[in-house]
Structures are given as C-alpha cells and as structure tokens.
C-alpha cells in the first residue's frame, strides 16, 4: 500500500485513496472530492432558496399554508424518483456525468422561478429545482469509488456535509442577495425576490460545467475509457436494480435515512418561517437563526463519519450500527424538546442546534454503512437510500407541517416520536460475516460469500467479472469483529 508514481496519496489495491486531505486539490481523488461536494452544495442552495424569502413570496403570490406546504413537498418529493434513477445512472455511466448533467438540466427552472405568477408556477419550479437534490447520490457514490474503507465514512460524510451546508448558507445568502436586489429595484420587494433567483441559476450552469470537465469518475479514469478497455464491468440496469432491491438491509436504511436526512430537508423548509411567525423576529434575523441549523453541516456530518470509522476500527460493523442508532435516537429526543420550547426563543435555538448536530451525525453514520450493503449494486443502493431521505421529508412535511390543525411546535414533537420509532429498524440490519447490533458474526461466513457468491452467478465468476470485487472484499475485512480479525491473523500466520 505504498504511494505509487501515479497518485499523490497512499492508495490500496483498487487505487482508492486511504487518506482524505480536504486542503488538497490533486487529481483525481481530491479534485473529484471538491467537485462532488460543490455540486451538491449548489443544489441545496437553490432548492431552499425560497425558504428565507417566504414572507415576501407568499404575499406576492397569495399563497396559503397548505399551498406553501405542498410546494415545499414538491421540492423534496420530485427528486425521489430522480435519486433512484441517479443510482442506476451512476452504475451505468458514472457519477461525474450524472452529477453535472442534473445540475445543468435544473438551471432553467431557477431562471423560470423569477417569472411565476401563482401557486401552480411556483410548485412546478420548486419541483424542477428540487430534482437537483439527486446530486447527493452521485456525490456519495463518487466518494465510495474514490476512498477506501479506512476513510470512506469520513469522505462520504464530509462531502455530503459540506454539500448539505448549502441548506444553511442559503438561509442568509438569499436574504442578502434579496437586499441588494431590493435596493437595485427602488425598493420593489415583489420584483427583488425574482431577480435574486439569477444567482442560483448561474451557479448551476457554472458548477455543472466545472464538475463535467474537472472531475473524474474513478481513480483510473472515466467510465467510457474503463468500460471500453474492460477494466470495468459494463453493467445491466435490470440486473443491478434486482440485486439492490433484493437486499432487505437497503430497505431498512431507506426508512432510517428518511428520518435523518428527511428531517433535515423538512427543517430547511420550515424553520425560518417558524421562527418568524412563532417569535415575531424579523425576516433577516429569522434567516440567520435558521441558518444555524444547516451550518452544523460544516462539521457535524463529518463527526458522524469519524465516529463511524473509529467505532468500526474498534468493533467492526457492529460499531457503525450502534453509532447510527445512538445518534439518531438522540436526534428524536432533541426534536421533541425543541417543540416543547415553543415559548422560549433561546431554548428553541439551543435545542435546535444540538438537534441539528445529531441529525447530521446520523447522516454521516448512515453513509459509513451504505458502501458495504452491496458492491455490485452500490449505485442502486445509494440511490434508493438517498431517495428514502426525500421520501422521509415528504412524509414528515405532509403529516406534520401542512395541516392547519397542527401547530408547527406540535408537529416537531410528533416528528421526534416518529424518528425514535423508525430508528429501531437499525436493529435487524445483519451482515453474516460481520454481525449486527445484538447478534454476532458467523464464524464461517466470509466477505466473498456476501459480495461475490451472492451477487454474481457461477458463470459470471468464471468469466472473471467478479475479479475487481475481490479487491473490495480484501479491503473490507476491517469491518469484521475483533475476535474474527484475530482469528484471521492466527490462521494467516499458521
């Protein structure tokens, strides 16, 4: 595992980087890291650009609370299918193209938002812009291809965390851009918010091109070259989808991710309006306070990834599962307390900050587990789980934050109880060779059984299609419980 001539970082047998250095821009690993989080960041900025300007937009377009809720739903729901499709796209043509094309394709919706005149136009544009959230799947898939198990949790979490940061940054960035446009339009508020949408639109176009030309799919090259040369399997869409969908672990994580990332999306939609309406703070103050929620992404998601990697080092995959269950259960508890603090702004903000840290740590911990659910159908699994995040946001928003009969602070409490209940689905996630939260690993099961014999037919194995996966099996033995690693070491020395 020495530094090779080709790469400036230590790499494993798959040429995946074994260390993450966020200050490096070296090709291909770290430049791709920066392109992936930046693309995801921009999609979050644009998807939630409307939220801090809602007090102006709702008066301009005459929107009701159910209409606002439905538009917020559209922003996170439309991308459910897009995320599932993105998983397959990543498996077939690579994450670089997937990420850049979705950014470029959603740019026109940002510009079109400036011309809406009623609820229908507002809904369609938020739906179209929200499709950009599929960049998340490409981002995570990309990092799983570029970084090995020693730091994949950290890489996934940092890239996604910095991407999610867009949801926090937009809460004060868009009001700032709105203020500039307000001055430039001679104090015409209903025109100023429309001009402000030029910013996310331009970012989509510029960053989309940057990702396309500066990123690289895999350490050894782009998909087209590698599939043509035979170094990479040319996958069948139907086959990889079936492999992914047959794996019950994926479905458990679809649900659990729905109530960490889904909660974050929901909060990005409602928190500025909640602070404005419940506590009577000004628009700009509500935006700044609301941004604290998303700003925790700067470090909190990485913390989740770091704890996941650390606990894996100590306890194997069992450590990763316990990390996820603990952070996400605590998330539910803090959500309840945030709702209960409805009469105290200071307490609300304090609980909101800790709640946000737990939400993002749970997301980081989730994607410490996702790369191991399937190897051959990694894109499909990433896509479905990512889509689960949006499905969770849809369910949470529709159930708790759209109806007139439920106050927002009540909705927060109900959401907290739901999070705690759904998080119990981490318990049945069991890997035969690594164990689960409560059950031990099988003495005889191996990584080859799970990743090769389970996902390839004997004919495919004979044809050599599973050869690249063997390297992954070797590199992921660190997920074994300590007793099994020691047993392995004893057998190796014997």
């Amino acid at each position: 595992m020495a530094i090779t001539k080709e790469f400036n970082v230590p790499v494993d047998s798959e040429h995946k980087a074994m260390k993450l250095n966020v200050f490096s821009f070296d090709r291909p690993h770290h430049l791709s890291f920066h392109m992936s989080w930046l693309g995801f960041f921009i999609s979050f900025v644009s998807t939630f650009a409307a939220a801090p300007m809602i007090p102006v937009i709702r008066e301009d377009l005459g929107l009701t609370k159910p209409q606002l809720g439905n538009a917020g739903l559209a922003a996170v729901t439309g991308t459910i299918i897009c995320r599932v499709l993105m998983g397959t796209v990543c498996d077939l043509i690579g994450p670089r193209l997937g990420l850049s094309v979705i950014l470029l394709a959603t740019a026109p919706f940002c510009f079109a938002m400036a011309m809406v005149q009623g609820f229908e136009g507002f809904l369609i544009c938020r739906l179209g812009i929200g499709l950009g959230l599929a960049t998340f799947v490409a981002c995570q898939f990309w990092m799983s291809c570029m970084f090995n198990s020693k730091c994949v949790g950290l890489a996934n979490a940092t890239a996604a965390g910095w991407g999610n940061l867009g949801g926090g940054v937009t809460q004060f960035l868009m009001p700032g851009i709105y203020a500039i446009c307000y001055s430039a339009t001679n104090s015409r508020a209903f025109t100023a918010w429309r001009w402000a949408y030029i910013f996310p639109g331009m970012c989509h176009t510029v960053v989309g091109l940057m990702v396309m030309y500066l990123g690289q799919d895999l350490p050894d090259g782009n998909y087209k070259v590698l599939t043509t040369s035979g170094a990479l399997e040319k996958k069948s869409s139907m086959k990889v989808n079936l492999i992914g969908m047959k794996n019950y672990r994926m479905w458990c994580m679809v649900a659990t991710y729905g109530f960490c990332f889904g909660v974050e999306l929901t909060m990005n939609n409602i928190v500025a309006g909640y602070l404005f309406d419940q506590f009577g703070v000004s628009l700009s103050v509500a935006g700044v306070l609301a941004s604290c929620y998303g700003m925790m992404n700067l470090f909190a998601r990485s913390v989740g990834g770091i704890i996941s990697d650390w606990s894996s080092n100590r306890f194997g995959m069992r450590g990763r599962l316990w990390t996820l269950w603990s952070t996400q259960t605590l998330e539910g508890v803090l959500c309840i307390f945030m709702g209960l603090s409805k009469d105290n702004l200071g307490a609300t903000i304090a609980f909101m900050v800790f709640f946000s840290i737990c939400v993002q740590a749970s997301e980081g911990a989730s994607y410490g587990i996702v790369p191991f659910i399937s190897r051959r159908a990694l894109g499909v699994v990433s896509g479905f789980i990512g889509a689960g995040g949006n499905a969770g946001a849809t369910i949470a928003t529709a159930a708790f934050f759209t109806k007139d009969s439920i106050e927002t602070y009540e909705g927060l409490q109900y959401l907290g109880y739901t999070v705690i209940g759904v998080t119990a689905l981490v318990i049945p996630i069991h890997f035969p060779m690594w164990g689960s939260m409560f059950f031990p690993a099988s003495k005889t099961a191996t990584e080859e059984d799970y990743y090769i014999h389970n996902e390839f037919t004997p004919e495919e194995i004979k044809a050599g299609l599973a050869a690249p996966v063997q390297k992954f099996c070797n590199n992921s033995r660190n997920e074994r419980p300590v007793w099994k690693r020691e047993q392995d070491a004893v057998e190796a020395s014997a």
Partner: protein, 209 residues
C-alpha cells in the same frame, strides 16, 4: 365616617378616570365599550364596494370621531386584512391582544402600523396617508387606535369600507427579458457542453475499442 369619605372620593376619582378613558387596555375585548367612529376615503373619493387603491400611488384619508380630549394622547392607524383574506394564512391570525394581533400587521416590509404618533387631544380628527409601496395585494379595512402614556384606550374599525390594494407591475420587461435569455443560454450551454464531453470521452476510449 372618615373611611367612608375616603371610599367615596376614591370611587369618584375612579369613575372620573373611566369616563375620561384614561385606563389603559391591552385587548380589543376590553375596549368594546370605548369605540371610535372611523371613515375612510380613497384619493378624496368615497369608499364603496369594489374600491381599489395602489400601493405607492394612491392615498387614503382616515377620519375618526369619539376620541378623548385629553392632551398628550396619540392616534395610530392600522391596515387590517379583511375576513376573506385570513383563511389558511396563520401569519395573519386575528388575536385579541392588540400588540400580538397579526391581522393588522404587514410582513413584506415589516410594519405594525400604517401610521403612528398622530397627535390626539381632540374628539375628532383626520389624517392623509400615502399607501406604502410594498403592501401585499389583498382586501383591507382601516382600524384606528387611541393611546395615552400607559397604553391603548379606544379603537374603531371602518367596517363599511373594505377596499382592495393592488400592487405595481412585478414583472417588468427587463426582468422577463433577462430571465428568458438565461433560460435559453443555460439550455444551449448544457447541450453543447455535454456533446463536447461525449466526443472527448469517445476519442479517449477509441484506442481500446
């Protein structure tokens, strides 16, 4: 006898204070017997059903009767959403506590009052108010409040005049033209960029074909 005299004097003083309306209130329901008569005209013309006014262009004249003659009292005018504009909009919720009543609060450019600090001290009065530029397009009525140094003492709604506020052209040609250009530009750039990359990748892969 002395105690009785003190009680009588206190009672008379309290009655005098109540008659003067000097006791402050915080809720509308507490002022239900202390009301002002309010009438509104738009740019000098009578307010009738279907009357319209534009923010930043038209002015309204608000007149009131029945106010206190105590010097030092001030009047304030609020623009309140009509009943038809409240459904499913909790940010316009009607509340009994005057300072928490969202029904008469503007949120686009935050304002609790249309005009405040108008000198009182006379039983009748009126004021001309230019309508601000950024009023939400909706139906409104006018509310007038009287306050003294300790708080609100009287209020009145002009329930006979509900007028509609319309706003300026929110989609000027410059905005429409610019955004239409960028929509076309972004589609062209996306198409051209993707095609160029496709050719570049095919060229790189050609050596392995």
């Amino acid at each position: 006898m002395v105690e009785l005299k003190k009680l009588l004097i206190g009672g008379l003083a309290a009655t005098a204070m109540l008659a003067d309306g000097a006791h402050a209130f915080t809720k509308y329901s507490e002022m239900s017997s202390n009301t002002l008569g309010v009438t509104t005209t738009i740019d000098g013309g009578a307010c009738a059903a279907g009357s319209k006014a534009q923010g930043g262009l038209n002015s309204i004249n608000v007149a009131w009767t029945g106010a206190s003659t105590t010097s030092g009292n001030t009047m304030m005018v609020k623009l309140c959403y009509d009943d038809s504009e409240l459904a499913s909009k909790p940010w316009r919720k009607k509340k009994d506590i005057v300072n928490k009543n969202k029904r008469c609060k503007q949120t686009v450019v935050e304002a609790d009052y249309l005009k405040a600090g108008i000198t009182g001290g006379s039983a009748t009065g009126n004021v001309d108010i230019p309508l601000p530029l950024n009023i939400a397009p909706a139906k409104y009525f006018i509310q007038v409040l009287e306050s003294d140094s300790s708080g609100y003492v009287r209020y009145g709604d002009d329930s006979s005049c509900t007028f509609e506020v319309v706003t300026y052209d929110r989609l000027p040609q410059a905005l429409v033209g610019t955004m239409s250009f960028f929509i076309a530009f972004s589609i062209i750039v996306a198409t051209a960029g993707t095609m160029y990359d496709y050719k570049k990748q095919n060229a790189a892969a050609a050596q392995y074909a």
